[in-house]
Amino acid sequence: MKKTLTVMTLLAGAVSVYSQGAVAMNDYNGGSAGFEIQVFTAQSLLNSTVPIVDGIYAGFEEQGQTSNSYLANPGSTVYHTGAPLGPGYSIGLLALDGGGALLYSQLTSVVTLSSPINSWYNNATSVTGGDNYGIWNTPAVATVAGLATTASVAIAAWQNSGAAGAATTLAEAQADGYAWGLSNIETANLATGDNSPGYLPSTITSFSLAQTVPEPSTIALGVIGASALLFRRRK
C-alpha cells in the first residue's frame, strides 16, 4: 500500500511537470522573426482611449501597432507623448490556461518567470537611438500552470519601486499606487513536455501604462496610521 502511494505520488509529480505550458517572454530578437513590441509610460488623455479595468483598479491607456519600429508610436495613427519604459519598470505575464478570457479579471497572475524581467534595451546596448526603447532585454520563460496547450495571455508592466518600497508583482504595484498597464488579451500557444517554448502571440500590440483612477487602498493604511497617532496624542 505504501509502495503504491509512493509510485502514485511520483507519477502525479511527473504529470504536473509535463503538463505545465511554457512561453518565451523575449521581446525583440535582433530584428529576426518573433515577438516585438514597445511599452510606454502613460500617454496623454487625448491618446489614452482604451479602457483597462482590473478589479478595483481602472484607467485608460493607449494600445496599437503590432511590431515596434524603435521609438515609433505605440499607436499607428497618433503620436505618443510619454517616454518608452526603461530601468525602474518590470514586465510580467497574466494568463488563463485553456484560453477564452475576455476580461483581465479572468486572468491569474500566478505565472512563474524563469527570471524577473526588469532590464531594458537602451543606448548602452545594441539598438541605436534614444535612451530607452520600451523593449525589455530579459530572455525569460514564463510557465503557465495547467494542462492545456493554449492560454489567454496579457502582458503586464509596472513601476517596480517607489515610496512604498519594491513591487515585484503587478498586484503589489497596484496596491502601492504605482504606475501600471496591460496589453490586449490574446491566445498563446504553450510548449509542453520537451518542446521548446514558442513566442508570445504576435497579435499583442505595443501599449502604454494607464492613466488610472485614484484608488483608495493605499490611503487606508495612512488613515489607520493617522488615527492611531491621534489617539496616542490625545491619550
Binding site: 488623455l45 479602457p51 478595483i56 485614484p214 484608488e215 488613515v223 488615527s227 490625545r234
Partner: protein, 278 residues
C-alpha cells in the same frame, strides 16, 4: 428638524407633483427635484440620488449630444471618461466609457450605458487640466422614498447593500452634510436600529474624494473617515466626525466584515428612511 433640513436642502427647493389634489389630507405621491452638478477638472466621484426618466444612464444624465463633455472636436478632442464599479465579492470595475466626438447615442463611445442609479457612484473624469474649466450637469428626477416601487433602479428600496471590502456608493436619498448621523440614515452607530441595519463595524473606512483644486487631485484628494473607538474609549464613532459629502458626491466604503463560519461573505446594510408625506 434635522431631517427636514437635510431633505429640503437635498430637494433643492423644487418640489413638483405627479398627482396633486388641492384638498386637505390628500398628498402628492411623488416629489421631483433637480441637482446642479459641478464637475471639476480631473476625477469626480458622483452619485445621482434621483430616479431620472427614462433611465439613470450617463446617456440621459450626462448627455453629450452637444459635445458638453469634450474639449474640442474630432480626433484632437479631449474627452470626458466614466468608470462604473460593481460592488460585490470581489468588487470590480465593470464599465468604462468616453465621450464620443460623433455625438451619437448621447455622445458616448460605449453607448452611454453606464448607470448612476440612486445609491451607486461612478467616477467622472473631466479632461481639462487641473485648475481649468469645470463641466456641469443637471440631474432631474423623482426623489426616492420609502414607498418608491421596487424596480431595477432601487432593487432594495432604500437599503444599500455593503459588501465586504470596497464599495463605491452614495446615499440613495438626496442629502448633504453629515451622512452617517441623521434621522434619514441609520448608519451612525454600531447598534442595530433597523431590521437590516447592522451599523458600521470597527475599522470600517469611508473615503470621500475632494475634486476641487483644494483637494490636490490624484490620491491626495481623499479624506478618510474611520469607525473606531473614541479618545475617551467610551464608544465607537466615526473619526473624524462627521462624515460629510455634498448631495451628488459618492464615496468608497471599505467594510471590514469578512465571511461567516460557512465561508459566505457577510454583507452590511445602510438603511435610509425618507418620505415627504406624513
Amino acid at each position: 428638524m434635522r431631517t427636514k433640513t437635510l431633505a429640503l436642502s437635498a430637494l433643492l427647493g423644487m418640489l413638483g407633483t405627479a398627482s396633486l389634489v388641492a384638498q386637505s389630507n390628500v398628498y402628492s405621491v411623488n416629489a421631483v427635484g433637480y441637482i446642479n452638478v459641478t464637475l471639476y477638472p480631473g476625477y469626480n466621484l458622483i452619485t445621482c440620488p434621483l430616479i431620472a426618466s427614462p433611465d439613470n444612464t450617463i446617456a440621459t444624465l450626462l448627455n453629450n449630444s452637444t459635445g458638453a463633455y469634450q474639449v474640442g472636436t474630432g480626433h484632437s478632442a479631449l474627452r470626458a471618461a466614466t468608470f462604473q464599479y460593481s460592488n460585490g465579492v470581489p468588487g470590480s470595475y465593470i464599465n468604462a466609457d468616453q465621450a464620443n466626438s460623433t455625438f451619437a447615442t448621447g455622445g458616448w463611445a460605449g453607448g452611454g450605458a453606464t448607470t448612476i442609479n440612486p445609491g451607486q457612484a461612478i467616477w467622472f473624469q473631466n479632461p481639462n487640466p487641473i485648475g481649468g474649466a469645470v463641466m456641469t450637469a443637471t440631474f432631474v428626477g423623482t426623489v426616492p422614498q420609502n414607498n418608491t416601487p421596487t424596480n431595477f433602479q432601487l432593487p432594495n428600496g432604500l437599503t444599500n447593500i455593503i459588501y465586504p471590502n470596497y464599495n463605491l456608493m452614495g446615499s440613495i436619498v438626496p442629502m448633504s452634510g453629515d451622512l452617517a448621523t441623521n434621522s434619514i440614515s441609520l448608519f451612525g452607530t454600531n447598534a442595530a436600529s433597523g431590521t437590516l441595519s447592522l451599523g458600521p463595524t470597527k475599522n470600517d473606512v469611508v473615503f470621500v474624494y475632494d475634486p476641487t483644486p483644494n483637494g490636490g487631485g490624484g490620491q491626495g484628494g481623499y479624506s478618510g473617515y474611520q469607525f473606531t473607538v473614541n479618545p475617551a474609549r467610551t464608544h465607537f464613532a466615526w473619526s473624524p466626525d462627521p462624515v460629510t459629502a455634498t448631495v451628488y458626491e459618492g464615496f468608497w466604503y471599505q467594510s471590514t466584515l469578512g465571511t461567516n463560519s460557512l465561508g459566505v461573505p457577510t454583507n452590511n446594510y445602510w438603511v435610509e428612511n425618507f418620505s415627504i408625506n406624513p
